[in-house]
């Protein structure tokens, strides 16, 4: 079954694979940074100052991020990969595979691809870690004697982490598909289930309420605690929004009606695909929210106090944010590609039913814009919930301030990302004559 899945839909594993590459790189970089700080020759006073500057914490933060994000995003991308195997799962369930066995096989798929992903990610992480240490020294955040030292046990530690997180993410993603009655699975692949689970909605609501509650609760604490807890507010809100994603996308689908016939078809498709597409919503929301929080904090501080933060601080913030955003962007694009590729047949049928290639593409682009819109609205809402208490504790203001050009860049960037994940694979998929795809 593992072999079948890996051979039949190799592209559907691109999502978990690239997530694992990034996670491995991040862990390796984190390990390398911490080893470099430990092993570089430094005067005791300089070491003391460096430790107090919080730089070693960055290494730990990188690793924690890698663990959180890879469990969530491997889970999300594996869910898409598992959905492609619904028929095969139904078949092996019918001929005697227990739910537990199916779950283990699916988790093993994720663990197996984690191995090459780690082998690729570790050297990338060493390069990244080296660049980061160089950056730290260039910006005067650490003495020049600090040079990059790769962590001696980087490979085994990283491998353990990527395999572990992949197993965890995949096992979570596999719970529902493995428990489905085989008859339901045989029928479901013909007509995907459109109902949204009660447990899913309830968990989503709990996470969103909990996240918002925490956000209100920390607004009056000291700045440092708020800053630390802010991450959890955001994670809870993003995962919650992801669980509520199908419902949110269905609302967005209604908005499609404003754009005429093409919009109506796009809206209908989103309604049907809401569940698969919401897999892309989680990473997109994470990326938008995380960037927005950082930008809001920085720009509002600048606006309110009239002073630019020191270049070194800005560099630190941006290096951290870019890591986060790369992670999420790769995951979002991968999930979207998986969704579009799984629809090759539908696209071909649309064409056979009389749509020109241009019109079929217009529908895909309209879908992309609706997904972008949803992600932006949700992402900004999450960012606002996360950032406002931070603003209040650090600056005493409730009003965020962001320059218009930055907002525009954010909107265009998100749209570009979504179009890369949808329109591009759709164009490639539609290059084959539709009748060939259907047959």
């Amino acid at each position: 079954m593992i072999r079948q899945a890996l051979r039949r839909n190799p592209w559907s594993f691109l999502g978990p694979f690239s997530t694992q590459v990034l996670a491995a790189a991040l862990v390796t970089a984190g390990l390398g940074i911490s080893a470099s700080i430990d092993r570089s020759p430094m005067a005791a006073a300089a070491r003391q100052a460096l430790t107090e500057s919080g730089l070693p914490d960055v290494a730990v933060l990188f690793m924690l991020l890698a663990i959180y994000l890879s469990i969530i995003i491997v889970g999300v991308t594996m869910a898409a990969a598992i959905a492609q195997q619904a028929r095969d799962i139904a078949l092996v369930r019918a001929i005697g595979a227990t739910p537990g066995r199916v779950r283990r096989a699916l988790a093993a798929q994720a663990a197996i691809i984690a191995v090459p992903a780690t082998l690729l990610g570790v050297p990338l992480g060493s390069l990244g870690g080296r660049a980061w240490i160089d950056g730290v020294v260039t910006h005067g955040l650490a003495p020049a004697t600090v040079t990059f030292h790769p962590h001696p046990a980087a490979l085994p530690i990283t491998l353990a982490i990527t395999v572990g997180t992949s197993l965890a993410g995949a096992l979570i993603a596999a719970i529902r598909p493995s428990r489905m009655r085989p008859a339901a699975a045989l029928a479901e692949s013909a007509a995907p289930r459109r109902r949204i689970g009660v447990v899913r909605t309830a968990t989503g609501l709990i996470l969103v309420t909990g996240g918002s509650g925490l956000s209100v609760a920390i607004a009056d604490l000291d700045a440092e605690t708020t800053d630390q807890l802010g991450l959890y507010v955001m994670l809870a809100l993003c995962v919650g929004a992801g669980l509520l994603g199908p419902a949110l996308l269905r609302v967005a689908a209604l908005a499609g009606r404003l754009f005429g016939d093409v919009g109506r078809v796009a809206g209908d498709t989103i309604g049907v695909q809401a569940k698969a597409l919401s897999g892309a919503l989680v990473p997109l929301t994470l990326a938008i929210a995380f960037t927005a929080v950082k930008v809001i904090m920085m720009k509002t501080t600048q606006h309110a106090t009239g002073a630019m933060p020191p270049a070194a601080d800005r560099w630190l913030t941006f290096s951290g944010t870019s890591v986060y955003v790369t992670f999420a962007a790769v995951a979002a694009v991968n999930t979207l590609v998986t969704v579009i590729l799984s629809r090759r047949r539908d696209l071909a049928i649309t064409q056979l039913a009389g749509a020109t290639r241009r019109r079929a593409l217009a529908v895909v682009i309209c879908e992309a814009l609706l997904v972008t819109g949803t992600a932006l609205v949700v992402g900004v809402a999450v960012a606002a919930t996360t950032a406002l208490p931070l603003l209040h504790t650090t600056l005493g203001t409730w009003t965020p301030w962001v320059p218009g050009s930055w907002l525009l860049t954010g909107v265009l960037g998100t749209a570009a990302l979504v179009l890369t994940g949808t329109a591009l694979p759709a164009v490639l998929a539609m290059r084959r004559p539709p009748i060939e795809v259907v047959a």
Partner: protein
């Protein structure tokens, strides 16, 4: 005659008030070849799924190979199915990236019984020497032969077949039916087959016609033209 399959007042309804089966009772003896027919939506696939333990009835009981399965937990049910039942579906029957031999070895690798030798079963379905070929390269008829071989390899008491000839031309289809017939006659396997093709149903011993989730007629199988007439009668009765 010892009964292998016993459905008592089985009903199955789905969310949104769709009722697929209402109080269906059916007893199938060992070594019987039963064809189930009916119009689209008459509940024939649901009947097969409930009888085979792929789905659970909303009410009523199902005894399969001497054991009540409608209330069994998923894991023991899966094992029971694995050890006593073989399946042949219309399509998507096999793992396309694996070879013929790997597909036949699958039930065994999933912990099922290995009662029969793979090569012997392959020879019995006329596929000797194809063991190393990927199933994706085979023709539709050959794939269905592999599916029957996979169903036979565990030495099951019942084979459930859901439109086994649905995707095949009449000549290839009758070769597949001849294989099922031979399994019944020579090995004493019980076959429950859902089909909409009167020519396919004519290979069976007993014909069960469903109408709107209930058994309309249950009698010895007549010849193909008579089957077509009866099927037409129960189908139009629904439309009216």
């Amino acid at each position: 005659m010892e009964s292998v399959l016993e459905l008592k007042d089985v009903a199955r309804s789905f969310p949104r008030g769709i009722v697929a089966l209402r109080h269906v009772s059916l007893t199938v003896g060992a070594g019987e070849f039963v064809a189930v027919m009916g119009a689209t939506g008459s509940g024939k696939s649901t009947l097969l799924h409930c009888a085979a333990g792929l789905d659970r009835p909303s009410a009523g009981s199902v005894r399969l190979a001497g054991r009540e399965i409608s209330r069994m937990r998923e894991r023991p049910l899966t094992r029971w199915r694995r050890d006593r039942v073989g399946f042949v579906f219309q399509s998507y029957n096999l793992l396309s990236e694996l070879t013929v031999r790997q597909n036949l070895a699958l039930p065994g690798r999933l912990g099922g019984p290995r009662r029969r030798d793979i090569d012997e079963v392959l020879a019995a379905v006329g596929l000797a020497g194809t063991g190393r070929r990927p199933t994706g390269e085979l023709s539709g008829g050959q794939r269905q032969r592999v599916a029957i071989a996979r169903a036979l390899v565990t030495g099951p008491s019942v084979i459930f077949a859901d439109e086994p000839t649905g995707a095949l031309d009449p000549t290839t289809g009758s070769q597949i039916l001849a294989l099922l017939r031979r399994a019944v006659d020579r090995e004493g396997v019980t076959v429950l087959m859902v089909t909409h093709d009167p020519a396919a149903a004519a290979w069976s011993d007993r014909l069960v016609l469903l109408r709107a989730g209930t058994v309309a007629t249950d009698a010895a199988t007549p010849d193909a033209p008579t089957i077509a007439d009866r099927l037409h009668a129960v189908s139009t009765a629904v439309a009216r």
